[in-house]
Assembly symmetry: C2
Amino acid sequence: MNPQNLRIPGPTPVPPEVMQAMQRPMIPHRGNEFRQIHKNLVQKIQEILRTDSNVFVMPGSGSIGWEAAIVNTLSPGDHVISFVCGDFGARFAGVADAYGLNVRTYKVKPGHAVDELMVRRALAEHPQAKAVLYTHNETSTGITNPLQRVGPIVRDHGALLIVDAVSSAGAVHIDTDLWGVDVLLSGSQKGWMSPPGLAIVSANDRAMAATSQASFPRSFLDFEAWSSSVAKGDTPATAPLTLYFALDAACSLILDEGMAARTERHDEAGRRTRQTFEDAGFKLFADTAYASSTLTAIEVPGGAGAKDLVETVRERYDIDVAAGQADLSDQIIRVGHMGWFEQEDIARAANAVVACATVMAE
Amino acid sequence: MNPQNLRIPGPTPVPPEVMQAMQRPMIPHRGNEFRQIHKNLVQKIQEILRTDSNVFVMPGSGSIGWEAAIVNTLSPGDHVISFVCGDFGARFAGVADAYGLNVRTYKVKPGHAVDELMVRRALAEHPQAKAVLYTHNETSTGITNPLQRVGPIVRDHGALLIVDAVSSAGAVHIDTDLWGVDVLLSGSQKGWMSPPGLAIVSANDRAMAATSQASFPRSFLDFEAWSSSVAKGDTPATAPLTLYFALDAACSLILDEGMAARTERHDEAGRRTRQTFEDAGFKLFADTAYASSTLTAIEVPGGAGAKDLVETVRERYDIDVAAGQADLSDQIIRVGHMGWFEQEDIARAANAVVACATVMAE
C-alpha cells in the first residue's frame, strides 16, 4: 500500500518521521520526560497557530473540539449564531442545538462562502449573541471562509469567536491571536500530518473568562482542569502518549518547512488542482474567490455517480479520493491536498479522477 | 530504554506485535477495510469481556468512560450510590457529583474492599438509587472488589451496575453478562497492552434502554450515535486508526494466550509479588483476601518516602514503579503486573524495590 495515494480530505498520509516517532516505547505519563515533551509540543503548536493562548491536546477528533468549545464557554439557553456553508458547519450547529443553545443559523448555498457582510448582518440582527460558530475551511465543499476579515468584526461586537479549523490549521497560515479567534479547534489527521485521535484546541483569556461563567456540567473536556494541568506539563487524564509523540514529530516537520512555505505549497496545490479540472472541462464546485488550498471539489458530470467514480479511481489507480457528504454524497468529488504531499502526488490524483470520469462518461 | 522496565500500573509495556501494528499506513475511515477491522475488533473485545452487548471503542482514557456511563444512563438529580475504596473510586464519584447527580457515597478505608454486605446495606438504605458506581480493581490501592458476588445483588435490586474495570479488564477474567454488569469501562493502556488513548466501553440492553430516558446533553459520547454507527462498522467521528490497529493486534494476542491462562499468569504474578514483599518484611497495603492480581501496593517502611524510593529504583535499576495517589502519595509503593510481562520481569521490579528500600532504611 502506498500511503501517498490517500487523497481524501483526511486522514492524510503520515510521514516516515512521524511513523517512526510512534515506535517510542511507553513512558510514565506523570513523569518529567513526558512533561518536557508535552511542554515542547504546546510551544510548537502555539508557534504554528500564532497564539499565546492555552493549547489543549485532547484525545478525540475535531468534533470533540466543537463540544469542548460549547460546554466550556456557554450555558443552556445562550444565544449563538452559527454559519453553515456545508455539512461540517451543519454538524457544528447540531452539537450547539443538542446542548440546548438558542442557535440562529445562517445558511449559504454549499459551494459559497460566509463573508463579512453576512456576519455583520447576523450580529446586527442578533446583538445578544454570546458566541459565533464559524467554519474556517469547510471540508465538505472546499471553501475557505474569510476568517481574517470576519474575526475583527466579531471582536468589535463582543461575541466569542469559536472557529472550526479542522482542515486548515497546520496546513495554512492562521493568525489566531491577530485575527481575534477566541477558541480554535482542529484535528490531528489533516493539516497536522498525524494519525487521527487528537483534537487540538486553543482557548484565549476571553474564552477562559467565559469558562468560569459557563454552567454546562463537564469533566473530561473542562478547560479549567486542562489549563491547570497543562501549566505543569500534565494532562487531566492519561495522555495518549503515542499520538503525542506523533504530533510532536509532525509539528517539528511543520516548523522546519516553515508556515510561509507550507502555506504557499498548499496554495499552489489548490491552484494546480483547480487548473487541471478546469482544463479538462469539469466544473469546480466551490466559488473560486474562496477556493480552499487544502481540498478541491468538482461536480460530477451528469450530476450523479460520485460514489462509482471513487470506486473506479481506487480500482484503476489505487488512489483514494472522496465523494461528497450528506445531500452532496453522490454529486461531487473531493480531492484532498493537505499535510504531507508533493505537487506530483496531487497531480496524479487529479489526473486519475479526470481519466476515470472521462471513461465513465463515454 | 527497555520497555519491560515500566512497572507502574499503566501505561504498561506494549508488545512488539502491537508496536508493529501501529506502522500500518492510514486508510479511509469510512471505507470497507476499516469497517472490517472495526467489526473484528468489537467481536474480540466481546469475547474477552464475555459479553454480547454493544462495545464502543472511544477516543479517550478510562475517565472518559466514567463520564460516558453517567451522561448516557442518568439525568440530573438522579440518585446513585458510589463505593469508594481509593482515589479512582473517589474520582468516579466526583464526576457524578460534577454532573449534579444525587450521589450517596460509601467509603471504606483504603486497602479494604467493598464487599457484598456493604452493597446490600447501601441498596437497602437507598432503594431509589438508579445506578451503582462500582470499581472492580482499585488502581490506587491494589484491591479487587468482589464484582462476581456484587453484580447479582445489584441486578436483583434493579439499579444499573456501572463498573470501572480500567485496571482489570483484558488482564483477568470478567464475566460481564453473567455477573450482571450493565456498563463496563476500561482503558487501553493497562490490561489491554496497548498505548493509552482509547476507552473501551460495553453497554447492554438495560443500559441502552436507560439511554433513551437520560436527559444530559451529549454528542461525542452519545451511546445511541455510537450504537447505530458501530452496527455498520463505523464510528460517529473519525476513529483513531493507529490506536484501533494497536488494540486489534493486542486483542489477538490476548485471545491467543486465552483468558484462563492469562488470568492465571496475573494471579501468579500477584501471589509471587506479595510473597517477595512479605518475605522481605514489608507490609502489604491491601487486604490479602481481596488482593489484586494486576498490581501490588506495599507500605513504605517508616510511613513516608515513597517518592524518593521511586526515584532511587529508577536511578539504580532503570525500573519505573509508582508511588501512591492523593493522600497516599508518599506512603505506599505500587508495582504493576498487568498486560505484557513474564514472571521474571515482575520479580526484578519487586526485588529492586526491596533492595532500594532496605538500603534507604539503613
